[in-house]
């Protein structure tokens, strides 16, 4: 600790498994869709990576009812993994992402094991991407998602299968903070061959519309993201980074350049910006500029 030592003069490249990213700043899965929607708003080609919206084997229409609700410094969402499905993703979205200079990271999810196997099968041997993020943590669906991600054995099973089928690609496992201790899940993922851990997905929360005396979300609970959860995400990253050997990607509440630096100091090798893209689309680029100027902060000891 102590002392200012940000300026290390190093480059900002980061290697996770077999994949080399030109910088460690990614867009998180979900808020920015397939990146394409933000095309004219920010220069997506300068980003280290763009994690696409989680795709499932078949298209999903997502949840009915309200999907968004602001909370103090936070956002509850109940999108429910609406996505175009892997076929449309591979034939339309992915090529478009690549064409626009984005470095895609494909986020995958599934409604159960069979669905998952079919998705992996479909992805195997497919070109256009070299990194996959397994979403083991969506709180807004009944099957798959967080239910899988809370069980170290299932995490192990899902990650192992992805490593087997997608051998050679960089495999990231994205974990949920809705557990007593996130470390065993990270260890499971690492043991099963994950090249990196992504922490965290949203925290389970809910809201009530007092005036109309009704639940805000049809599914009652939703996922909390945004600055409100940064302290929780940071603690998760800190703990994981001290338990696994593989790189950790920090996500949760990053809302300023300093917030991103906190994650590096906590031990993250890369960061993802999610909710902040809504209110400060230029933030990822500002983070990259800072890292290029001052280097990636070293992690704190302890």
């Amino acid at each position: 600790m102590g002392g200012m030592d940000l300026v290390s003069g190093r480059g900002v490249e980061v290697t996770i498994g077999s994949a080399v990213f030109k910088n460690p700043v990614f867009l998180a899965s979900g808020p920015a869709g397939y990146g394409l929607e933000y095309e004219t708003v920010i220069d997506l080609a300068v980003l280290g990576g763009v994690v696409a919206k989680t795709i499932t084997y078949k298209p999903l229409v997502g949840n009915r009812g309200a999907r968004l609700r602001e909370t103090p410094s936070g956002l509850l969402n109940s999108i429910g993994l609406e996505n175009v499905g892997c076929e449309a993703f591979l034939s339309e979205k992915l090529p478009a992402m690549v064409e626009r200079g984005m470095r895609p990271i494909v986020s995958i999810g599934a409604e159960g094991w069979e669905d998952y196997e079919r998705l992996l099968e479909r992805l195997s041997g497919t070109e256009g991407f070299d990194a996959v993020e397994i979403n083991l943590s969506c709180p807004n669906v009944d099957i798959g998602g967080m239910a899988v991600g809370r069980d170290p054995e299932l995490v192990e099973k899902y990650v192992r299968r992805a490593s087997e089928v997608l051998g050679g690609k960089c495999i990231l496992a994205k974990l949920t903070p809705n557990v007593e201790d996130i470390v065993p899940l990270a260890l499971s993922a690492e043991g099963a061959g994950a090249d990196g851990i992504v922490a965290v997905n949203t925290i389970v929360g809910m809201d009530i519309d007092v005036r109309n005396r009704k639940l805000v979300f049809d599914r009652v609970t939703a996922g909390l993201s945004g600055p409100a959860i940064l302290p929780v995400a940071l603690a998760a990253v800190w703990k994981i980074a001290r338990s696994v050997e593989i790189p950790v990607v920090g996500v949760g509440g990053i809302s300023s350049v300093d917030d991103a630096l906190k994650f590096f100091m906590a031990g993250a090798a890369a960061v993802e910006v999610g909710t902040a893209i809504f209110y400060d689309p230029e933030l990822p680029v500002r983070i990259i500029e800072r890292l290029e100027k001052d280097g990636i902060p070293e992690r704190l000891s302890g």
Partner: protein, 277 residues
């Protein structure tokens, strides 16, 4: 509306005047590179520097020329309140122009424009823009709680046939815009044409019912009904899939995004019954 030129712009407030105590007309400097827009297009604004409220706030464009973008802001919560306090020269960030589908420009058929409350913003834009383009066969029906809420001056010099409704009867017809519409239609005072509406959800829904309920010789008189909708938004770009509206489908209604599939929709396609959120 195409997304070409869409972006996040740092610009500044040119003017902020209270039309009435809780409703402001805010004029923003049109940033270099900000594209032309169509009525129904909107922008999202960062109302505060900090994170409460967190998200940008969407507002319909009420007028736009080479130098200005004008919006009408009704104070209903923290975001609009913060905006209402902004002063001339204060910097402000806007994301826009937003909207995947705007009001179609009228062809030969007359247009009946129906606005409730701040729903006048995109309607005023339509009237001013199209008047300037020579469209003359338009009728405005504009309802508000009282005469104070009827912002006649934002329509400036534009002269089209205008009918006002106020709930308290302080100006024009006593009642709401939909009742006025019905009474005018039954009076045979409205041309055969297309409806363009914007207002509270209840109003637009009642308007749909009213149009559907018109029997006899009035049936089919209003071929299209375009309406500009509102929903809570996060990205405003179609990315997050948060701002859904259900459209009537074969079985379950289809979910579309207000920000990128709209905000303008065919009113008759909306699954009002299923839109419980």
């Amino acid at each position: 509306m195409s997304s070409a030129g869409r972006g996040i712009f740092l610009t500044e407030i040119l003017d902020n005047r209270a039309l009435y105590p809780d409703t402001h007309v805010i004029s923003i400097k049109r940033p270099a590179g900000f594209p032309d827009t169509e009525p129904g297009g909107f922008i999202s604004i960062r109302a505060v520097e900090n994170t409460t409220p967190l998200l940008l706030r969407p507002f319909s464009i009420m007028w736009q020329d080479d130098e200005h973008i004008e919006i009408l802001v009704k104070v209903v919560g923290p975001g609009s309140e913060a905006l209402s306090k902004k002063r001339t020269k204060e910097p402000v960030k806007i994301l826009g122009p937003l909207g995947g589908r705007t009001f179609p420009a009228p062809s030969q058929r007359p247009v009946i424009l129906i606005a409730g409350g701040t729903g006048i913003a995109p309607i005023a834009y339509a009237i001013k823009k199209w008047s300037a383009a020579g469209v003359s066969n338009a009728v405005l029906i504009y309802g508000a709680a009282s005469s104070v809420g009827i912002a006649r001056d934002i329509l400036d010099e534009v002269v089209i046939e205008s009918h006002y409704a106020t709930l308290d009867g302080s100006l024009g017809f006593e009642g709401d815009a939909v009742e006025l519409f019905k009474s005018l239609a039954l009076d045979n005072s409205l041309p055969e044409g297309d409806i363009y509406s914007c207002g509270p959800r209840g109003m637009v829904r009642a308007l749909c019912d009213a149009v559907a309920g018109l029997g006899g010789m009035y049936k089919g008189r209003f071929a299209h009904h375009y309406t500009s909708l509102e929903a809570v938004m996060a990205c405003g770009l179609g990315a997050c899939r948060g701002c859904t509206v259900p459209l009537k489908g074969d079985g379950e209604s289809a979910l579309k995004t207000v920000c990128s599939d709209g905000p303008v929709f065919d009113a008759e396609e909306i699954d009002w019954e299923g839109w419980t959120w």
